[in-house]
Structures are given as C-alpha cells and as structure tokens.
C-alpha cells in the first residue's frame, strides 16, 4: 500500500477539475424539486402520445381541452411544489387522468394504422420514465456540495484494467441494438410481441457472452506462461468447447441436408 503522502491530492481544485460532465448534469437536476424532475419525462410523453391524439383529425374540442388541462396540471405542480408539498400528486394524477380522457375521446389516433412505430416506442419509454420519476425518490441536493470523500484523494485501484474492454462491451451493445431493429412490420400482435421478446433475450445473451469473453482476458497471469502451460491451457479450452462445436457441426450438416432436399 502506498504511503499517505503519495496518495494525497496536489491541490484543492483537483477533485473539481476531474469531475465528469455527468456529475455536473446530475448536480443540475438535483437542484430541481421532485415535481419538476418528473415533469420533464411527463412533458415528453405528453408531446408524443397525448398532443397528436388531441389534435388528430376528427378529435372533439373536449379532447383538446383535456390535453391542455394535463399540461397545465404539470406546470402547476412545478410552480406550487415549493409552497405545497402535495403539489407533486396534482402533476402526476392530473396528467394521467386528463391523458386517459383524451385517449378515450379520440380513440382512432391510437390505432396501429395512425400510430407510427418509432413514435409509439418513444412514447412508451416516455411514460415509463415518467412513472419511474414519479415513483422513485427524487434526486436531492447534497448538503456538502464541495465535500470530497477524504483528504487523501481518490482511491487507487488494486490492479490495472486491460485496455479494450470498452470495445467489447460496445460491440455487444451494438449487436443487441441491431437485434431490436428486426421485425417491426409484423401485423399480428402476438407474433410481434414474440419477436420482441426473442430479440431481447438474444441481445441479452450476446451481451453476457461478450462480457464473459472480455473478463476471460483478466483471469490470465501477468507473467507469460511457459510453452507447456500455454499448450495445456489451449487444450483445456478446446476440450471445454468441443461438445458445442460438434453440436454446431451437426446442425450445419442438418441445414445442408434440408437445403439439398428442398432443391
């Protein structure tokens, strides 16, 4: 372990200089009250799912009025929360109830023929974020904004991480995202749901596998193994993967046989 003198910070501004932009964004959000924090995803969800329904062709004027009331209740909760603690509930329930009334009054706007897939997914995410922001405890401002964990500066890691882990994880995440682009034009709802579940499970499997491969690089000894040891390691790995490789070969032969039979 390094002596305390070596671990000490060089100056008082060092901790602030190395603060990430995410920390600054989080600090900015924590300055807002709970209702204001929830109002951001609420406004997003309203703009994507309620406003288009209220201002769709054939929607009655009452639908427009309830949509505007939802927006007003959201704004009122932000303004009133400093004086009245329960104002948060006005924003939550006001937006949810008025949005429900709007959708009931203009049901055709939510049918698959009128609702764009990308907008539908984005709206669903918006409502999920709004629900999370309403249910979860709000971010609170730190009582000691300038305080640091200790006088001895940041802790040092016990070991150095190998470079390239980020590339592995990025590759896995890109594959998982690419899987989410498949099968958005399925008309049957049950099959569309099955495709989404399968693509989600496949994406998770790929991310888990990529993480395992990246972690395998960390398990190796720092010293270069002898030739005999390296050979034994290779043999162990091949032996572990051999049954699965044989299964893969059998599946390949089966596929070829099916193609030959069809032709």
């Amino acid at each position: 372990m390094a002596p305390p003198d070596e671990r000490r910070n060089n100056g008082p501004g060092e901790g602030q200089a190395t603060a990430s932009p995410w920390a600054a964004i989080l600090a900015g959000v924590s300055m807002l009250g709970p209702a204001a924090q929830a109002s951001v995803p609420g406004l997003y969800a309203w703009a994507l799912t309620v406003a288009p329904a209220a201002w769709s062709r054939g929607a009655p004027w009452v639908a427009k009025a309830t949509a505007i009331m939802g927006l007003l209740s959201l704004g009122a909760s932000v303004v009133a929360e400093r004086r009245w603690g329960a104002a948060r509930y006005v924003g939550v329930w006001g937006l949810v109830l008025t949005s429900s009334v709007t959708w009931v009054l203009a049901p055709a706007a939510l049918s698959p023929l009128h609702l764009d897939v990308a907008r539908g997914v984005a709206g669903m995410l918006g409502w999920a974020l709004f629900a999370f922001a309403c249910a979860a405890p709000a971010l609170r401002r730190s009582a000691y904004p300038d305080a640091r964990l200790g006088d001895e500066g940041p802790l040092r890691p016990r070991t150095e991480l190998r470079r390239g882990d980020g590339l592995y994880i990025l590759g896995g995440a890109l594959v998982a995202l690419a899987l989410q682009t498949v099968g958005w034009r399925v008309n049957v709802p049950e099959r569309a749901l099955l495709v989404r579940v399968v693509s989600l499970a496949a994406g998770l499997a790929i991310v888990a596998a990529v993480t395992s491969v990246a972690l395998a690089r960390h398990g190796r000894p720092t010293q270069r193994p002898s030739e005999r040891e390296a050979r034994r390691l290779r043999r162990d790995k091949l032996r572990a993967g051999l049954p699965w490789l044989l299964g893969l070969a059998m599946l390949g032969i089966l596929g070829l046989l099916a193609i030959l039979r069809e032709s």
Binding site: A178, R191, V195, A202, A205, S212, G219, L248, G252, L254
Partner: protein, 58 residues
Amino acid sequence: MQLIDALAIVLIVAAAAAFVLGDAALARAEDLKALYWLIIGAVSVRAGVQIARPRAKA
C-alpha cells in the same frame, strides 16, 4: 490475441448473425427456420464462451 480467443470472438459474431436471421424468420412466420437459426445462435454463444472461459456460464 491468441488464435483460440479469435475463434471465440468469431463464434459470438456468428451467433449474433444467427440470432438476426432467426428473428427475421420469426417475423416472416417461418417458424421452423426461426427455430433452426435460434438454436444455432444459442449453441454458438455457448461454444464461444466455453472456449474463451472454460467452466463459465453464458
């Protein structure tokens, strides 16, 4: 990077391609093809993980 690690990565890339093909077949309602490709994807993932990290769970 050793050759055996490259083989593990190739298997996982192949698994990703198989999953995409399986998902697309499932969307086209070709269930047998979808099942075939999804099984190939699952076996490839398992093979890749076992080769990279013996006795690991994917």
